[in-house]
């Protein structure tokens, strides 16, 4: 795959808590992720997968070491840079985190509108297209309360992908999905990587996804213990 690596992590350490309760969760993590690849983070519960993901996705301030994301250093980055970078990312959370007062279509639109002044017709068309891709063409105007868990997660996927992100961060995105839709989502991410060069970093335990991964990074107690290209 071509281009400068979108994510370069060097000497990353992270602590939680203050004073006596201060505890190190991440120890000297080094990781370079290439453009258009699907990287899977594995490891037991509490090993630091989510922490690493939020640090790389500029959702958490870097305390020590360096995270280079899309050409920008996150250590010491200000609010404006964080916001600008987040707009180039797509997040798929463990919980779907849809807005309960917005319809499926409006939730997906939120992923487009953040990019500012694009023609409203184009915005709506993009949102509809994204929902169609995840198989929800007939559920556009449903409120989340009237969708199943799997459908909600697919709306969240559409919302993350509709803005054409450079990097997608996903934390157990298939946990709430049935076998088939889980596979569909991951295949879609994989294809996006091949077609658009979208980079995906995903936390998962799902064996079926491991088969699709370009690289599997295993964490234990906040350290990388295994790093395999497949």
């Amino acid at each position: 795959m071509t281009g400068a690596p979108p994510i370069i992590v060097t000497g990353l350490n992270h602590w939680f808590g203050t004073g006596e309760a201060r505890k190190q969760a991440i120890f000297d993590v080094n990781l370079t992720v290439m453009r258009g690849t699907l990287t899977v983070l594995m490891g037991p519960s509490g090993s630091g997968k989510t922490t690493v993901l939020t640090l790389m996705g500029c959702l958490r301030d870097v305390q020590d070491g360096s995270v280079h994301l899309l050409g920008h250093e996150l250590h010491g980055a200000g609010r404006e840079l964080n916001e600008a970078l987040r707009r180039r990312l797509g997040f798929i959370f463990q919980a779907h985190n849809l807005h309960g007062s917005l319809t499926a279509l409006q939730n997906v639109l939120m992923g487009v509108l953040v990019h500012g002044s694009i023609d409203p017709g184009t915005q709506a068309a993009a949102a509809r297209h994204a929902l169609t891709l995840v198989g929800l063409a007939d559920r556009m105007n449903y409120l989340p309360a009237n969708l199943s868990g799997g459908q909600k997660q697919r709306v969240a996927v559409a919302r993350a992908l509709v803005g054409n992100p450079d990097v997608v961060f996903a934390d157990e995105p298939t946990a709430a999905l049935d076998h088939e839709s889980g596979a569909t989502v991951v295949q879609m991410l994989k294809r996006l990587g091949q077609v658009r060069g979208t980079t995906t970093v995903m936390v998962t335990h799902d064996n079926r996804i491991l088969e699709l991964a370009d690289r599997i990074v295993t964490l234990e107690d906040g350290r990388i213990v295994n790093d395999t290209g497949v």
Binding site: T54, L59, A84, R87, R88, L109, V114
Partner: protein, 390 residues
């Protein structure tokens, strides 16, 4: 509505969608804002009507300067002023005419109810000191024991008032004397009495034998055209050796009276407090609604933050909600308050009414109060942390 808002804000009307997501909660919030509006409107209506009632008697007369006793905070109270000061004032080149006026309460015992009439004794040969409407009727006052009556007196049937004309006068007994009403004028119930009556100074002195013509309640002065009432009043204060007297321009006397009623009288203070309490109730209700709404949506806001939405976007949502509550709460508040004031006016004959000035003031006040509540509620936005989402 949603589409209109979307077009207005050039984004999804998230505040509107959030507020209307739960209809009962939204209705309760609007009822709260409407309630606060009603509180403020009713208090303001009462204060306004007090102001109108206070100003009413000043409208009966035409003068440039008024000399009153030190304790005369209004037209209807206070001690007398010696008439000699009137003559002394006339020595000033700018003072061209003067008149004394007398005030007292006359009780008209009627079968149903005794009317308390605030009665002015005036010199009917000096119509220049009266409003044109009143001046046109002074000829009848030159008759012995004649009076003209406030046709809007509280407790006086309208048709009975309408029947009082020079051709068909109406007589009644006051302290053993027969007073005859030949005409009526437009007064209107105040807080002090049931209505007003005008009699000549001669008739006044027969009704109140203890009063003397040399000591009226107030002295009114007219100035030469172009003279400055404030400057002449200052000159007269120097000239008049009784320094306890209050010599003010007529407009100043009216303004002082009003501010006395609103800030020194218990009733004025109570209604003023009522307005403040109404505003506070509104601010607290809206703050409560908005901060609960922010707290309920912290997860959604954190998600939007993770997607790259800036802080001003969330402040925009909260202010959008504040303005929606203000505008939609104002409408029923205005309607209920208008009906209430009309009903109260009917029941009390006080000049209680919704005015456009009040409506505009309360509307913008509501916008400001709701924005303030919204601004305070946005402080809770800080707890939406996208790092907690995974």
């Amino acid at each position: 509505m949603s589409r209109l808002l979307q077009w207005l804000f050039r984004r999804l009307p998230i505040g509107w969608l959030q507020l209307t997501h739960s209809r009962p909660r939204f209705a309760a919030a609007l009822a709260g804002v409407a309630f606060a509006n009603v509180l403020v409107f009713v208090q303001l209506g009462i204060m306004n009507s007090m102001a109108t009632a206070t100003m009413k008697p000043y409208g009966f007369f035409r003068a440039d300067i008024m000399i009153s006793a030190s304790d005369a905070n209004s037209m209807t109270e206070g001690g007398n002023v010696a008439r000699q000061w009137l003559f002394q004032a006339l020595a000033d080149p700018d003072v061209i005419a003067g008149a004394g006026i007398f005030v007292a309460n006359v009780n008209w015992a009627r079968p149903e109810k005794t009317l308390g009439l605030t009665t002015y004794g005036i010199d009917p040969t000096l119509p220049d000191f009266l409003s044109p409407d009143m001046a046109a009727k002074t000829t009848t006052l030159q008759l012995q024991n004649a009076g003209i009556l406030d046709r809007f007196s509280r407790g006086l049937p309208r048709d009975e008032a309408a029947a009082i004309r020079p051709q068909t006068p109406l007589s009644f007994e006051v302290s053993g004397k027969t007073l005859t009403l030949y005409d009526t004028f437009a007064g209107g119930g105040g807080f002090g009495g049931d209505g007003f009556m005008m009699v000549s100074d001669q008739t006044f002195l027969t009704l109140f034998p203890a009063r003397r013509s040399a000591a009226p309640d107030h002295i009114l002065l007219k100035l030469a055209p172009g003279a400055n009432a404030g400057q002449v009043a200052a000159r007269l204060r120097d000239l008049i050796s009784d320094k306890t007297l209050r010599t003010r321009s007529y407009a100043q006397a009216a303004a002082d009276d009003l501010s006395y009623q609103q800030t020194k009288r218990p009733t004025g203070i109570i209604f003023g407090f009522g307005v403040i309490i109404g505003i506070l109730v509104g601010i607290v209700i809206v703050y409560q609604v908005l901060s609960t709404d922010v707290a309920d949506h912290l997860g959604e806001y954190a998600t939007f933050k993770a997607m790259g939405y800036p802080q001003r976007f969330f402040i925009g949502i909260v202010l959008e909600e504040a303005l929606i509550l203000a505008i939609l709460g104002f409408v029923p508040g205005f309607a209920v308050a208008s009906a209430l004031l009309a009903g109260m006016a009917k029941a009390t004959t006080l000049p209680l009414a919704m005015t456009s000035g009040m409506a505009v003031m309360v509307f913008f006040g509501t916008l400001a109060a709701c924005s303030l509540s919204g601004a305070i509620a946005t402080r809770r936005l800080a707890s939406a942390d996208p790092a907690d989402l995974f």
